[in-house]
């Protein structure tokens, strides 16, 4: 099997995840697929720079994300001419069997700023570690953590879900070990 054939198979396998991430970022199925296509082309061109044994999915997500933000910057200029028509039509078609509350969730996700949305998706859905997510987003691990946390709080507010056990009233506030050895 040639190297390129193996690489192609790997890319093929990553497409469902790439599309999911792209939709999460763009909130638009068509734009998402264009983004995935760009990503595949770029990845193919740069395949020599992919280091075997490292995480291909993370590498691809990084490419996709960079492409997304570079498109955003370009669009930022174009959109000014067309008066927000773009923003009005960025809805996803809910699938036939989609539940209502999933629809609500989707709408809530859409309200998050991009950086928070991508962080919570990478950590909470795509299965990346904080370290991997930080690498994908080109920022510090702590930044990812705080974005995830803010995203989660924001979603809870929008969806009126009360936080779970984080502030659990365990009366162990007397957690002081008391023995500070010097």
């Amino acid at each position: 099997m040639s190297a390129s054939e193996g690489f192609r198979t790997d890319l093929l396998g990553a497409i469902p995840s790439l599309r999911a991430f792209a939709v999460s970022l763009t909130q638009n199925a068509d734009r998402a697929d264009d983004l995935v296509q760009e990503t595949l082309v770029k990845a193919w061109d740069k395949q020599d720079s992919f280091q075997l044994g490292t995480n291909l999915k993370a590498w691809l997500f990084t490419i996709l994300r960079n492409e997304f933000y570079s498109q955003m910057r370009k669009r930022g200029r174009e959109v000014q001419d067309s008066d927000g028509i773009m923003t009005a039509r960025l809805a996803i078609h809910p699938s036939q069997h989609g539940q209502l509350d999933l629809k609500d969730f989707r709408a809530a996700l859409e309200q998050l700023p991009e950086d928070q949305r991508e962080a919570i998706i990478l950590i909470g859905a795509s299965g990346f570690s904080y370290e991997e997510a930080a690498e994908i987003c080109g920022c510090a691990v702590g930044t990812i953590k705080s974005r995830v946390s803010r995203a989660r709080t924001r979603l809870q507010e929008i969806l009126q879900i009360s936080g779970d056990e984080d502030f659990g009233p365990d009366a162990i506030s007397a957690q002081v070990t008391g023995s500070s050895v010097l």
Binding site: L12, A20, L40, V41
Partner: protein, 63 residues
Amino acid sequence: MKDTTKTGASARQAGSADTLGANSEIGRKLKQYYDELVSDEVPDRFAQLLAQLEQVEPGRKKD
């Protein structure tokens, strides 16, 4: 001298600093949302694209 045994539940919670775990409502919805996207059928255009890309010599000289 007393031994301080600190095996509290708080330690366990801090260990799994995962605020989006399976027990969280947000975490579950997020997974549900994402899994639905992942299981969406992939259009043929992508397989075709990759096939095309492979036909072009990958190690083509970069000028």
